[in-house]
Symmetry: C2
């Protein structure tokens, strides 16, 4: 059996079975959420890592500066998904020895820009030789706390009846990738190349008492599915309620809904919590927060049309090994 036949999530389950459950008393959250959470003295550490591989996660023609930005930003998005604060990063650059120094330099310029934007210190890393370029960031952060307890947005923090809300608009990144493949630029392409995780809003949500969240990286329905699986619930998402930009509707009038539901890499936040708390978040934040559905008893993620009937999507999202997502 090959890795590609099993798919990413089944593989991770297999690896987790081999490793066994983490039994250290300091481990608050292990494999299965956006970050690991570890208690170190009086601090609740958050730790996450993400890799961008040339030819898989970015095309060989992508501006190196944007690749550097995105490599850090996607990790910041994982810290945001827990409601935390990023602290410091380690950067591993795997370099083809033929890569021009200036290209590698531009990559670090992009890293620096994202580090300044999100107040991250790049504290170390590694440079290795490899046949193609990849960049791995390991980012450490900390949870906000209240009376010594961590304020966390967790995948398993959902409750039946919770309203589901998302920030910003969905599908722009996937639309932007399609345009980039046609050598077109614009706001959608920028959304793909330079995602801006919703760090401040996520922190505000955690402070207001929201306990369930995830970043929209694999595709909305798949990411809501992660919440459902970990919270042992189902969900209904209302297609008509999804925030879709005018730019996406104009560029992809027939596919905008599919891109919004399954496109991935939006790095927006999906939150679940009581309606009145999410309304306070809407009022307090400068970012658009849209109510798109509810968590319910059950185990399925339903996408409901205006007529109340289910809409079927061909692919629920993006699997990093099977390559069924729209991003390939």
């Amino acid at each position: 059996v090959k890795a590609s036949e099993l798919g990413e999530f089944a593989l991770i389950d297999r690896f987790q079975d081999i490793l066994g459950p983490g039994t250290a008393p300091e481990l608050i959250i292990g494999i299965g959420d956006d970050c690991a959470v570890w208690r170190a003295g009086d601090t609740f550490l958050l730790a996450t890592t993400d890799t961008l591989v040339e030819g898989v996660h970015f095309s060989p023609g992508a501006p190196w500066c944007d690749v550097g930005w995105k490599a850090l930003a996607v990790n910041v998005s994982d810290i945001a998904a827990m409601g935390g604060e990023p602290l410091f990063a380690l950067v591993t650059l795997a370099l083809n020895p033929d890569l021009p120094i200036d290209a590698a330099g531009q990559l670090y310029v992009g890293l620096r820009e994202a580090a300044r934007e999100y107040e991250v210190t790049i504290a170390g890393g590694d440079v290795v030789r490899a046949p193609q370029v990849s960049i791995t960031v390991a980012l450490t952060g900390r949870a906000q706390t209240s009376h010594g307890l961590p304020l966390l947005l967790r995948r398993d923090g959902g409750r039946a009846g919770d309203v589901i809300a998302v920030t910003g608009t969905l599908g722009d990144s996937a639309g932007g990738l399609l345009l980039l493949k046609q050598h077109r630029r614009g706001d959608l392409a920028r959304a793909h190349l330079r995602p801006h995780p919703r760090l401040a809003l996520a922190q505000e949500a955690a402070r207001l008492g929201i306990q369930c969240g995830i970043d929209v990286s694999d595709g909305l329905l798949q990411d809501i599915g992660h919440i459902c699986r970990r919270s042992r619930l189902g969900a209904t998402v209302h297609a008509d309620a999804l925030p879709i930009s005018d730019a996406l509707r104009e560029a992809f009038p027939d596919d905008a809904l599919t891109l919004a539901c399954t496109g991935g890499e939006d790095y927006e936040l999906a939150l679940a919590g009581p309606r009145h708390v999410l309304e306070r978040l809407q009022a307090a934040s400068g970012t658009t927060v849209t109510f798109i559905g509810e968590l319910r008893d059950g185990s399925r993620v339903r996408l409901a049309g205006a007529d109340g009937r289910d809409i079927e999507m061909s692919a629920a999202g993006w699997d990093h090994l099977r390559a069924t997502g729209s991003r390939r």
Copy 2:
């Protein structure tokens, strides 16, 4: 200019120039030591990351179980090099989709073995698709403390007159790699495939007050050179004093000294400190600790023969991009 023309250390300098110095007050040690050190509340965190790339750091025929062990062990070695205690790891596996699941599974079996040996919790990670297999571990640990201050072995902690000591024997790993290329096994091959970092001894050294150390990963003379550069000193290493195993002398009678000086990947410790403190460490430890030289004013690392004259080595060690080391 290509990356390969600049070489690993010049590249890292270039990247560090772009990033600028870390200015966060919590950053105790940034780029340039075996680990970054970050103050989080009452804890001094250690953070390091290392990558093994198929075809670069391990051959396609290496047992996957050993690759998994080594991927974690080399990171534990970085924590040991600071005198610290490992806590939890994030593991990123870049998989060729054609890799058999069982191979990937064996890799995690090896990871688990090393995690149990060194009491590390694997708390998360990432699985990505890539043309060839690589494994990146990001390991977080903490410094031992005394009266609220961290007990650290630092590259810049050397003083003129310090004695240089190393643990175990040197060159076995490089010799083992040469034998493995001839499809031969044995103790040297095991030293290459399954390094055992000197974690307990390193912690004891830090508690005894040793303040300068590094792990022998790039090759002894190059690693002593890292201490010298960061401590703004020179060093004399006595060739006759180097601990070389009988197995290495028998297998490579003409090259044992070169392998011991430049071979790399021993994952032994090199320490520098006052003679009487290192003698206490010798007495307290079950591990062989050998005095091999001294730190001196100056900037050069001298390898001195029995007659007191300098011995010249063709390559001081192992540069990960130029591929001049003996490990290719």
